[in-house]
């Protein structure tokens, strides 16, 4: 069900402050697109504008177009709730619902869509999603325990299971490994490589090796100075970005000569 996303002339605001300016980019289906760049350059903000999570913050708004397979996500008839059901998100810090069991966490999204499911079907879905997130073997005996009883890496995979349980078209990941140890990070990277067969994945990362390892396309965001809006400086196949980037700023950043 993976879909492509076309962004044109996107300006992203916090109140009157222009945070990200003039983004034009096409995100390919069934691939991983990585967004890199220094802190505060607007890559997370851009990511959150793709599933309309940006406007959750008071005063935040967006100008421009985001089109997913012909469907204008910011069109007059687009409902942000529907958009978020089609475009799943995994956050920087693992955030399973602490008041729900592991099972209920995975089932949460499906229950929201108010589809009445038979218990057996729901059991199937939970198992399938947890297997999809490579977590099933670790939690199958304690599905009724709280999600917060898991380790950080397991919690993050639980969040991925929760996001893919609703079969979204696109999966957004906002620095999903930055709070995890290297082994958990590896587990999640392997998982992403499996998931891209079914989903379009966009990942924000500070870890350039990670971007190089997992992604097909890489976008580099940068800003000229504090108070200036962030811009998408370069968007190219990952190999090209890391070997022979078009822009000098990109080369400076990836080779550590930044700033």
């Amino acid at each position: 069900m993976a879909k492509r996303i076309d962004v044109s002339d996107l300006n992203i605001y916090y109140g009157n402050f222009l945070a990200v300016e003039g983004v034009n980019v096409s995100i390919e289906p069934r691939s991983i697109t990585a967004l890199i760049g220094p802190s505060g350059c607007g890559k997370s903000t851009f990511l959150r504008s793709l599933n309309r999570m940006h406007e959750v913050i008071p005063g935040a708004r967006v100008e421009g177009k985001v089109v997913m397979d012909g469907q204008d996500l910011y069109g007059a008839d687009a409902d942000p709730v529907d958009v978020r059901r089609q475009i799943g998100m995994v956050f920087q810090r693992p955030n399973p619902f602490p008041t729900m069991s592991i099972y209920d966490n995975v089932a949460a999204g499906v229950r929201l869509n108010s589809r009445k499911m038979k218990k057996a079907d729901l059991d199937d879905l939970v198992e399938r999603s947890l297997k999809g997130a490579n977590l099933w073997n670790e939690v199958k005996d304690r599905l009724d325990r709280p999600g917060s009883s898991l380790s950080g890496g397991q919690q993050q995979r639980l969040c991925i299971a929760r996001a893919i349980a609703v079969e979204p078209d696109v999966l957004l990941m906002d620095e999903p490994c930055s709070a995890l140890d290297p082994i958990s990070t590896l587990a999640i990277e392997d998982l992403m490589t499996e998931l891209k067969e079914r989903f379009t994945i966009v990942i924000v990362t500070h870890n350039m090796q990670q971007a190089a390892r997992v992604s097909e396309q890489t976008g580099f965001f940068n800003l000229n100075g504090v108070g200036q809006p962030g811009r998408l400086i370069e968007f190219n196949p990952t190999e090209k970005i890391f070997s022979n980037p078009d822009q000098k700023a990109t080369e400076d950043y990836i080779s550590g000569r930044f700033g």
Partner: protein, 316 residues
Amino acid sequence: MTATRTPTEPGAAKPVRRPGDRIFAGSAKGAGILILVILAGVAAFLIAEALPALSAPSDDIPGGEGLAGYVLPLVFGTLLSAVIALVVATPLAVAIALFITHYAPRRLAQGLGYVVDLLAAIPSIVYGFWGIAWLAPKLVPFYQWLEDNFGFIPLFAGPTSSTGRTMLTAGLVLAIMILPIISAISREVFLQVPTLHKEAALALGATRWEMVKMAVLPYGKSGIIGGAMLGLGRALGETMAVALVLSVSGGITFNLISSGNPSTVAANIALEFPESSGIDVNTLIASGLALFVITLAVNMLARWIVNRRADFSGAN
């Protein structure tokens, strides 16, 4: 091997304790002990003073039906009025808190918060006057309507009191009095729900109400229960407002809108104490002891409810 000291060796160096730490630990411990001493003192006083009434022949107790016959209707009245207050106030208070924290525009929310807090600052005797002079007469037509249409339910059997000074009126006045306590505590808890959890719900495609159901209410549950118990404590012990509003005559009844109502423990003590002496005083104190035990039991019950699913509280 040279001699090495293991940490477990007796007489090994004690951990260094700084004076600041010691002073703070001592004063904190003192405060903790003080509260227990006060509680024990109150309990000892109540028990000692209630003893003569407990052992007195039933003819000597006011009413002539023994201590249980005297105290039970009061306990019943206390619980009934408090339960009415809680049932009315809790959903309303939670709704107010939700509106202030998640729905109202920021400016309005702040003003509304102050106004609700202000309700807590009104002395209870003012509530009593307001209840007797304004609310009770206004409620009479409503009670009549309840009797006409829902008279088959024992709660509204009537006959409707002509003054409106009924158990339901007392319960409603109490509800307004405990509203600010419950809503202030709920509000604080709702504000502490981590953005992370709320965004998790929103990112799954939850509407605002679904987000509240998934993330805010479960996280705030223990706070709501805690606030409700504080409110219940105030409703159980409230004296002046009930003493003024409630028209007392008769014993245990579930009829909420008639003129025959049992009194409450606290209101009864306030009304009877000035004219009591001897065994009558002991009887009143025994009723106070009953209230003390009830309040303790209610708090322990609430604690148990909150702890039952502590793993899922979100505090870890």
